[in-house]
């Protein structure tokens, strides 16, 4: 089972150090989460698409993921509209009515801009997440996390999770089939509490077995000296090159811009209506 969709390829993005990419990813996500600056979000989206092109990953390799994602964004947009068609009016403080569908369902310029922003906030991060996962070897991730300042014990938890997820999945499949053979099912025929109890029976052997496994893995790691030093080195780490510094600058620049804009503008909304 392949967990993260890493695709080995020769591209400038693949050659970057995982740590600089991770730093850029995190700053990218932070800045797009904070801001409602539409031009900035548009730029970030375009930049993300350029990075995707540079990474030589193909859209067809991400198809399954992408359709699902767009569906989710659409659903979210509809939900936001249904729950509050005038959210944009509240946020921007003006009301430019374009059309009334009926009842409370109005279409305003403010609502359109607000919902466009929400979509952009997701859209601007999607390409960059795809690029990051597709171009960074899973083995390099923990080393990168440690490099950007996350303590190595937390970083190694992440590596171990990636290591043991495939094992856990296949054990779960075996166990769940045996339990189904005995007659445990979660179909809608039963009442909800009974279904939840059935699910508990299904997963109980998996979870208690995993707890036992923790002790053995801990022993194996202690016997090979994990956790005895203040730091550790990583065989998968790579040296920084010029491209890495540029990547870090881009990331830092984005956060700096967003913070500066918020302070100068006095609000995180880019407001064309005033």
């Amino acid at each position: 089972m392949k967990l993260l969709n890493y695709i080995e390829r020769s591209s400038p993005i693949h050659r970057l150090n995982g740590a600089s990419k991770l730093f850029c990813l995190l700053t990218w996500i932070c800045s797009t989460m904070i801001t409602f600056n539409t031009p900035f979000l548009l730029c970030a989206t375009v930049l993300g698409i350029i990075a995707f092109a540079l990474s030589r990953l193909k859209l067809s390799e991400q198809k399954g993921l992408l359709y699902f994602l767009l569906g989710f964004m659409l659903l979210n947009a509809i939900l936001i509209y249904v729950f509050n068609p005038e959210r944009g009016v509240e946020l921007y403080g003006t009301r430019n009515l374009l059309y009334t569908i009926g009842g409370r369902f109005t279409i305003t310029k403010e609502q359109l801009l607000y919902q466009f922003n929400v979509i952009l906030k997701y859209l601007s991060t999607i390409p960059i997440i795809l690029v990051f996962i597709g171009s960074t070897q899973p083995s390099e991730l923990a080393a990168s996390m440690n490099r950007i300042g996350i303590p190595y014990s937390f970083s190694y938890s992440f590596a171990l999770a990636l290591r043991y997820i495939p094992d856990t999945v296949s054990t779960f499949i075996d166990i769940s089939r045996c339990q189904q053979a005995r007659g445990i099912e979660m179909s809608s025929k039963e009442s909800l509490p009974k279904r939840v109890k059935a699910a508990a029976l299904l997963v109980l052997p998996l979870i208690l077995g995993s707890v036992d496994q923790i002790e053995v893995i801990t022993n194996a790691m202690e016997l090979r000296k994990f956790g005895t030093q203040k730091r550790r080195t990583w065989i998968m780490s790579r040296p920084f090159k010029a491209g890495d510094y540029i990547t870090i600058l881009i990331g830092a620049g984005m956060v700096a811009f967003v913070i500066a804009y918020n302070v100068i503008n006095g609000s995180r909304f880019w407001n064309p209506f005033n």
Binding site: I175, Q180, P205, R224
Partner: protein, 570 residues
């Protein structure tokens, strides 16, 4: 013998876990020298795992308890060191290869200890390369554990301790999860690495015949927390200590004893290749073989399950089962053997409808199984997983056995009668008020078998029913299965254990690359070099014994041994 300086020295050593009332180890006096090869054997619960944990430092640093006496590692008291200090001297490869394999790939796993010691990358790469070369895994450095065979994981494990130039390599049941031929290669590799590096070797195993395939300097026998024997393999095998200690003798030794030959040290009985037999001895063996006629087991003939052209593939991968034809007979005790990944488990899972076949038919007494759901199929064919803990989801024995019946809507009264009668059959009745967690591994196994029997299946399929069990538990589980089999239930076992197959299965079906390549008696399979090679099995030492003694039909000799052994034991 030319012994090097001592590395591990136990003196009047006792250990008691904090949570326990009695010590687990008593009065241990044991010295292991540089470059020695030592086998530690003993039944489950004899204290050998505790001894291992004392040597590698998990005791006293991870498991707390009271130590009396002294244990010095490289001349320094172990309790004054630390796990990581001790690890510089003693490298341990654990039994659980999935837990031992920490890294995401072979490369990272071998480098793991070095990373933790903050070795710089360039030096790490060099040391990893060297270690990988010694164990012969250099071609797989980028592989993830899911893409490796058991043997390759074992190699990675050894490389992972070799990067540190350890002076002692310790292996906890290294053969437990390997098929017979891979086990043979693994033990040869251990010898080879030890000779290359000069490290001492400690192997903990109860399959002593398989370990004695290489030259071991000493065997330590343990029982109830004490060392009961410490000497050469030849001395041990010419005593009665093994049988008294609940450990299986090598089969050729048992056969020689049956033939009336006294085993003495000067016969060098430690391996079938070394054992010296006089012409008189050989005549005795032939005489024993011909004294009574060898009766071959009567094959069963009534077909209960008819499998034709069965095909299966995981998603878009190539076929795992490539047209399997198999007629299972009523009342049979059948073994399915073959190398890892040959398709044995897939066949079992397909029969139980855990996996959906993509071609072929399976007809059970006139009914097509391929149309059934997993749950419906379970009323006809029961599947018992290798690890009982993965099947148990209730706290009490009664509830666990009753679960399948309850979920099938049986009334309370029927369930009670049924469960109680099954508990009696399975020897669990006296424990009926116990929580399952208080049971031993073997008893838990019985509970899982009982919970399957409660559904009245015609066939039960067991995956490695005795994996990791010592001789006593093995006999216990297998005799129990034999009783069930004699009550009319057809049993199919998937196994790597050649002893199990030889002693209990009347029919052996051999798998290779998704196809059945042989279907004959176990004695015939284990005396056919061609099949053995293809299916990664290992010929039984009885085969070599027969050849040594000039017996023309080794398979008949093996059959004779099985029949005779069965009579003696019952």
């Amino acid at each position: 013998m030319n012994r090097g300086e001592p590395i591990i020295e136990f003196k009047d050593f006792s250990f008691q876990y904090n949570a326990q009332k009695e010590p687990t180890l008593y009065d241990i006096d044991l010295t292991i020298h540089k470059g020695e090869k030592v086998l530690i054997a003993g039944p489950s619960g004899c204290g050998k795992s505790t001894l291992v944990n004392c040597i590698n430092g998990l005791i006293p640093f991870s498991y707390k308890g009271e130590i009396r006496g002294s244990l010095k590692i490289k001349g320094m008291e172990s309790s004054s060191q630390s796990i990581s200090m001790i690890s510089n001297t003693v490298g341990t490869v654990l039994q659980d290869s999935d837990a031992q394999f920490i890294g995401m790939t072979v490369l990272e796993d071998i480098a793991f200890a070095l990373e933790n010691e903050c070795v710089v990358k360039e030096e790490m790469v060099e040391r990893v390369r060297k270690a990988a070369e010694i164990v012969g895994i250099s071609g797989h450095l980028g592989y993830a554990p899911t893409d490796l065979s058991g043997g390759q994981k074992q190699r990675t494990g050894i490389a992972g301790i070799l990067v540190d130039d350890v002076e002692v390599m310790m292996f906890d049941e290294p053969l437990a999860n390997l098929d017979p031929a891979t086990g043979k290669t693994a033990i040869e590799l251990i010898e080879e690495v030890a000779d290359k590096t000069g490290a001492a070797v400690i192997v903990v195993e109860h399959r002593i015949e398989d370990v004695l395939h290489i030259e071991m300097d000493r065997i330590i026998l343990m029982d109830s927390g004490r060392i009961t024997f410490d000497g050469t393999p030849d001395a041990l095998l010419s005593s009665r200590m093994l049988i008294d200690g609940g450990i299986r003798e090598p089969l050729y030794i048992t056969a020689l004893k049956y033939a009336g030959i006294e085993i003495t040290e000067d016969k060098e009985p430690h391996s079938i290749r070394s054992v010296r037999l006089t012409d008189d001895d050989k005549a005795k063996v032939r005489d024993w073989y011909t004294r009574t006629p060898t009766i071959r087991p009567e094959p069963k003939t009534e077909t209960i399950l008819d499998i034709r052209g069965l095909e299966f593939a995981y998603e878009d991968k190539p076929l795992t089962l490539k047209g399997v034809d198999l007629a299972v007979h009523r009342g049979e005790l059948m073994a399915i053997v073959g190398r890892n990944g040959a398709g044995k488990s897939t066949l079992a899972k397909t029969i139980c409808r855990f996996e959906k076949n993509c071609g072929g038919t399976m007809v059970l007494m006139g009914e097509d199984l391929t149309g059934l759901s997993i749950k419906e199929c379970a009323d006809r064919v029961g599947y018992v997983m290798q690890n009982p803990n993965q099947m148990i989801s209730k706290t009490m024995i009664f509830d666990e056995i009753a679960l399948g019946l309850k979920l099938r809507g049986c009334d309370e009264e029927t369930i009670k009668d049924k469960v109680e009668s099954i508990m009696k059959i399975c020897g669990l009745y006296e424990f009926r008020k116990w929580p399952i967690s208080a049971l031993s591994y073997g008893q838990k196994k019985r509970v899982t078998i009982a919970s399957i029997l409660a559904l009245d299946p015609d066939i039960i399929i067991l995956d490695e029913p005795t994996a990791g069990q010592d001789f006593r538990h093995y006999t216990d589980i297998m005799e129990f299965l034999k009783e069930i089999n004699q009550s009319g239930i057809t049993i199919i076992m998937i196994t790597h254990d050649m002893h199990l197959m030889l002693e209990y299965a009347e029919r052996a079906v051999v798998f290779n690359d998704g196809r059945i390549i042989a279907d004959m008696t176990s004695a015939e399979v284990l005396t056919s070099p061609d099949i053995i090679g293809k299916a990664s099995l290992k010929e039984t030492s009885l085969y070599h014994l027969a050849l040594m003694c000039g017996i023309e039909d080794p398979s008949s000799f093996v059959q004779h041994f099985i029949n005779f052994d069965r009579e003696v034991r019952s």
